[in-house]
């Protein structure tokens, strides 16, 4: 045996013999009691194992012993859970905002038109009556209703009188006809001027409202001087410019005249469709009642476009938005789980002598397995906890940035850390089994 290089001073060894002698005397005093106790008194303790709390403590100490490694190990889980929570949270938040917009526009819009099918040679089986808006307006839950029709203008082009635009021959613009209620029904907004009213309609006045795109092409931007346009060889006075509509966007590109004028000029026989704006939540009801109100004898000949039932929109948007990100989150979680499994396995190999020692101190195989399993569950749970925090922050941050109201399912925020723990449990199973299979003799052989 060689003398090792001088290390730190050892109070019990070497030259300080008097000190060590004193220590030994004290040792003797203490151990006397220990040794003399009979083996029989301890026999009944044989069945008692370690407390669950102690196993937890050991696992916690094992995890806490290597903080840097702990952080790196949890990283995958953190990313995965954060992606998951952030995706679901942002999806819910975004879906909430989108649904709000739908509530205002699409969810209150009902359109009734003759069904193309059922008639002969592609013709509709029935015609809408001119008084359809009045019939509809009597229903409870209808805010506004109006007819809309596309006019067959043949070769008639539209040009402005003032000749402000270069196009001498005129423009091939859409010409449409509507009842006075149409603009209210499609939430029309004006740039300038006014809509035509029941008086214009009744008298057959030659007035038009221009869609904003049509007005731009005709070079008309104000109506206070009562500009006129020609449709074919008929002159019309422009009384308003339409700025915005919801649902029927083609109105913005069209020249719109009252039904009365359209009947005179183009022999319009019946409206193409009825646009209905309902109260919020009444769309489904109105969709069911409208055909009967319009044509009690033959309601099935009418086709009704109504918004899907409440929730349907939301669900559809959510699943579209989330599918990809959920997949990404799942992949990140898988990688995170593999990371935990990998590091735990490495840790098992590294701590072989510790495992051997624990076995020598009376740990059964299952105690060793339990320790490593609990350690990886702790790592997974910590990752889940951190990931949830990051995901929630992400959701709230993006919402704040985009002026949204963050919507978070509390089950998600509570469940995500548990999901991390489950991942840790699954990831730790193999390393734990591996650790428990280590023979104490091989484990203790090394120096």
């Amino acid at each position: 045996m060689v003398t090792p290089p001088a290390g730190p001073p050892d109070p019990a060894g070497g030259p300080s013999t008097s000190r060590s002698a004193k220590l030994l005397r004290r040792t003797r005093l203490a151990l006397a009691g220990v040794v003399r106790r009979g083996a029989g008194s301890r026999r009944k303790r044989l069945t008692r194992g370690p407390a669950v709390r102690d196993l937890l403590d050991e696992a916690l100490a094992g995890v806490a012993a290597r903080p840097t490694r702990l952080i790196l190990t949890t990283l995958g889980t953190v990313l995965g859970i954060a992606a998951l929570v952030g995706t679901v949270g942002l999806g819910q938040t975004a879906a909430g905002q989108i649904t709000q917009r739908f509530d205002l526009a699409a969810a209150t819009r009902v359109v009734v038109q003759p069904d193309d099918k059922g008639g002969q040679e592609g013709e509709a089986a029935t015609q809408l009556p001119w008084d359809a808006p009045e019939r509809i307006a009597r229903l409870n839950g209808v805010d506004a209703a109006g007819t809309v029709s596309q006019l067959e203008v043949g070769d008639d082009l539209v040009r402005s009188v003032a000749g402000l635009d270069g196009q001498k021959e005129g423009h091939a613009l859409q010409v449409m006809a509507g009842s006075p209620g149409l603009f209210d029904a499609v939430r029309g907004g004006l740039t300038t001027g006014r809509f035509f009213d029941a008086g214009h309609d009744k008298r057959g006045d030659r007035v038009v409202v221009l869609g904003k795109n049509a007005a731009e092409r005709l070079g008309i931007n104000r109506v206070d001087s009562q500009p006129a346009i020609f449709v074919g060889d008929q002159a019309y006075t422009v009384i308003g410019i339409l700025d915005s509509v919801s649902g029927r966007a083609e109105l913005l590109d069209a020249v719109i005249m009252p039904n009365g004028a359209a009947k005179l000029a183009y022999d319009l026989e019946s409206p193409d469709a009825v646009e209905i704006r309902t109260a919020v939540g009444a769309a489904q009801l109105i969709a069911g009642q409208a055909p009967v109100a319009i044509d009690p004898n033959n309601p099935s000949a009418l086709k009704v476009d109504a918004p899907p039932k409440q929730g349907g929109v939301r669900k559809g948007v959510e699943s579209d938005l989330n599918a990809l990100f959920l997949l990404l989150g799942a992949v990140a979680l898988l990688v995170g789980g593999l990371g935990i499994a990998n590091v735990t396995l490495l840790s098992v190999l590294e701590r072989v002598s510790e495992i051997g020692l624990r076995r020598a101190l009376g740990a059964a195989r299952r105690h060793v397995a339990a320790q490593f399993l609990v350690e990886s569950v702790i790592v997974g749970f910590l990752g889940g906890l951190l990931g949830t925090a990051v995901g929630v922050l992400l959701t709230v941050g993006v919402s704040w940035f985009r002026d949204w109201t963050p919507i978070l399912d509390s089950r998600l925020s509570l469940g995500a850390p548990l999901l991390g723990a489950v991942i840790g449990l699954i990831a730790g199973t193999y390393p734990a089994w591996k650790a428990s299979a280590i023979q104490p003799i091989t484990a203790l052989r090394g120096t």
Partner: protein, 230 residues
């Protein structure tokens, strides 16, 4: 059983015809036909060159390994018939290990290292800490309780290991080359601790290849090629 114990204390260790073969190929007959009895309070040394099977014998004695055949009774309990869980409990309660390389947990304090040996025996936490404290005071390491083992010298570490082995009140102290990693002065101090323990009635089995260590024992057994020689 208790009647015989009163009349004549049962030996701590009773090995009859114990064999340990490691399946080959080639099969290694590490221990063949060992009969060994260690009475209560005996101080035994087992010497032998490396490869003689003394480590295997230590593992068998310490219930870390199962014999291929034979009978091994520890404190009168037939260990071969026990299931793994019971053997682990028996090991934790009845045997204290002292290793050549100490086997202390580097990330835990000295006190926690000593207390650890009572965890698997089911001693409540408060009692563990109290007993570990006492044991460390008695080996003269009261001032090192909250230190990490890595900051201690070799001799101090081995004293921590001895405290750990004794704090669970074992029937048998098994030491595997306890002085192998120590300089002669520290080794001497450890051997003096063993002498004291022996005087107090502890049953000790020390495995070594060092004659200076083996000479201190009350009885010496030599192991050669897996068999014991007196």
């Amino acid at each position: 059983m208790s009647a015989t114990a009163v009349a004549l204390p049962a030996p701590v260790v009773e090995m009859i015809g114990v064999r340990r073969f490691f399946p080959g190929p080639p099969e290694v007959q590490a221990i063949r036909e060992v009969d060994l009895t260690i009475g209560q309070g005996e101080y035994l040394s087992i010497v032998g060159p490396s490869g003689s099977g003394k480590s295997t014998l230590l593992h068998l004695l310490g219930l870390l390994d199962n014999p291929t055949g034979g009978v091994y009774r520890l404190d009168g309990v037939d260990t071969l018939s026990l299931r793994e869980r019971r053997r682990a409990v028996l090991r934790g309660e009845r045997i204290g290990f002292v290793f050549q390389s100490f086997h202390l947990l580097d990330h835990r304090t000295v006190l926690e290292n000593v207390a650890l040996s009572m965890v698997y025996v089911g001693v409540p936490r408060r009692e563990r800490i109290a007993r570990a404290r006492v044991a460390l005071e008695r080996v003269g390491l009261a001032h090192r309780m909250d230190f990490a083992p890595t900051t201690l010298s070799g001799g101090e570490r081995q004293r921590v290991a001895i405290a750990r082995a004794l704090v669970a009140e074992p029937s048998l102290l098994l030491a595997d080359e306890p002085t192998g990693n120590l300089d002669s002065a520290n080794a001497e101090a450890i051997l003096e601790v063993f002498d004291e323990l022996h005087h107090e009635g502890m049953t000790l089995a020390v495995i070594t290849h060092d004659d200076n260590v083996s000479r201190r024992a009350q009885r010496q057994v030599r192991i050669v090629d897996g068999t014991l020689q007196w």
